[in-house]
Amino acid sequence: MARHIPWILIAIVGAVALAMVALSRGEAVNALWIVVAAVSSFLVAYRYYALYIARHVMRLDPARPTPAIRRADGMDYVATDRTVLFGHHFAAIAGAGPLVGPVLAAQMGYLPGTLWIIAGVVLAGAVQDFMVLFISMRRDGKSLGELIRMEMGQVAGTIALFGAFMIMVIILAVLALIVVKALAESPWGMFTVAATVPLAIFMGVYTRWIRPGRIGEVSVLGLVGLLAAIVYGQSIAQSPFWGPAFTFTPVQLCWILIGYGAVASVLPVWLLLAPRDYLSTFLKIGAIAALAIGIVIMAPPLKMHAVTQFVDGGGPVWSGGLFPFLFITIACGAVSGFHALIASGTTPKLIASEGDARIIGYGAMLMEAFVAIMALVGASILDPGIYFTMNSPAAVIGTDAASAAAAVTSMGFPISSDLILQTAKDVGEHSIISRAGGAPTLAVAMAEIFSHVVGGPAMKAFWYHFAILFEALFILTAVDAGTRAGRFMLQDLIALAVPGFKDTTSPIPGFVATGLCVAAWGFFLHQGVTDPLGGVNTLWPVFGISNQMLAAIALMLATAVLFRMKRDRYAWVTMAPTAWLLICTVSAGWLKLFSADAKVGFLAHAAKFSEAAGRGEVLAPAKSMAEMEKIVFNDRTDAALCAIFLAVVLSLLFFTIRTCLAARRTDRPTAQEIPAAMATAE
């Protein structure tokens, strides 16, 4: 009993903190209460729930050889110390998602997002990562698609592979859109991001030829270059010649990004991708650590309301009510299907002992949820007036400070036009109005926190551009790496119809697949950028739905495997989160398709605009008949995409049920694990 006492104390502290966050009304709550509530919940969940899963559901056996032992080759399969592997795994799962989703979710207040991140990660997100790692680890580190094929059949595996490719396309489009929103009309930001290209090429040449493999020293050189670019960027932005030369409209940036993606993804990896990944990974980990320290030192009060009136829907940042849309807006951070691809990627090939799976699978995801909590705190310490000024579409609040101040004040979040102008000036931007996408909002919050700790108000503009640069840098790395990964997925898919398309000796299939992949995400990016409603509004829900559906698919695989292991009585561990994710994503997908509310349903919106066009009317925010037609076309494309995702997830549900029923009919385990006896070294 005595060993439980510290944990009971942690649980009590967490409960008190959660009560402070949830019940306090009228006076500002300190952000640290959220942090304390989250950290204590995570610790208790790790100590008890993750241990329960490890011991009873999975029955992990530290004596059983892992792929890294069984197939040790010194390259792909290397038994790795668990703290080292934790770093590897966390760096791979933590991206822009957990930073952006919670910022967008703050339009409903900080409370709903906080509760969903804490409950979601403990019961769904971390369980998914942990289960997929377990399943892959028992099968030589096979990938998610192969695992589904092994346990649920060929057809299910192919459907899942197709779904994963579509999700990849949407992710790349959304990430690129965030970069466009952050860099449009911002010469300072654009210059610093552009400067990373020659900087990375220099680093690439250095690690290739001058001092091969010296990642540490080249990263220090790169960091010095980056800081110089941020400092120098201010003068560039103010220069009468260079300022306009680095000022781009969103449409120009969209084409620049598409061209960049196409070229970057066929260059040798050592030249641009690898060195930029070094920079962005270390910058990301550093920025996350600095943010955590900054929040603890500053201990800022939360200015956002606990719950805003937008829980019923009708919010300006994204449409729809709390259920189901909050649960798809915060995707990464609470539960992210994309992690299933990482947990069945390199990590299971590096894990040294089954006993390490809990800290790697469950623990790293808790850490990511902590990052999401910090992003939510960041958005919530800003004046809500600033938050809604930055995140509402121009169609709602106009494009100048006076109209924005009036519109946001009338929403119930009083703000003066002076404060809007002053905030823009503080962070060195022309304007902060309608800079949707989450990244600029988080950058303002980070500037607030960092300048409180280092440098004071004079450093705000520097920290703002530092934050924008750090977000843009890893998004661009993801666009490059994602295009390459998407290309191979597409080659696998096309090879099903055209054998020989996987051929790696001829460059043509590779170029064709790369071109198709860039064209696919470029299409949605262009649609988002030219969307008169502001693309984040439209694309983020589609991304959230697809990502959570992939999570549901991964959890369904886990459920099928538990049934095939004859551990039905423990299958509730994965069935409960699967059910919740299916309820959320299917109803969100359904509403996005068929809701009669034109603000929510794509088809209703298309009908409204096409009827108006039929009468020869032009509805705002469209300005011409051509724009009207574009809106209708975009709506129908997005609707088709939602329908595809629904079809993918429902067909996999069918295969899962079939697999589970078949497993129930036999009296022995049918899961295709590598048997423990065979698992000894060859």
């Binding site: 040790a72 080759d73 010194g74 390259m75 792909d76 290397v78 790795t80 110390d81 703290t83 080292v84 592997l85 934790f86 770093g87 590897h88 966390f90 760096a91 791979a92 799962i93 933590a94 991206g95 822009a96 998602g97 990938s143 992710i171 959304v174 990430l175 690690t207 290739r208 091969p212 493999g213 990642i215 540490g216 990896v269 050592w270 991708l273 690898a274 990944d277 070094y278 990974t281 270390f282 980990i285 990464c332 992210s336 994309f338 992690h339 691809l341 990482i342 990627g345 390199t346 790395t477 993801a478 790496a481 994602g482 390459r484 990964a485 290309r487 191979f488 990502n547």
Partner: protein, 61 residues
């Protein structure tokens, strides 16, 4: 302190998928004593290509 710094260096390198050359040499010595191992530079380049070539599914959003 130096053990701590070594560990920190290993974690940082693992975050970007860079190989641990000592571990590779140990593996080659134990399992393939007759063959000559790759040089540190060769291994670094081989691993860089393997990590970023795209077949590993890339990174997360």
């Amino acid at each position: 302190m130096s053990a701590f710094l070594t560990r920190l260096r290993q974690i940082a390198r693992a975050m970007v998928g860079a190989p641990d050359y000592d571990a590779y040499l140990r593996h080659m010595r134990e399992h393939h004593p007759g063959t000559s191992p790759l040089s540190e530079t060769q291994l670094f380049r081989e691993r860089q290509e393997a990590r970023y070539g795209g077949k590993n599914g890339g990174k997360c959003c």
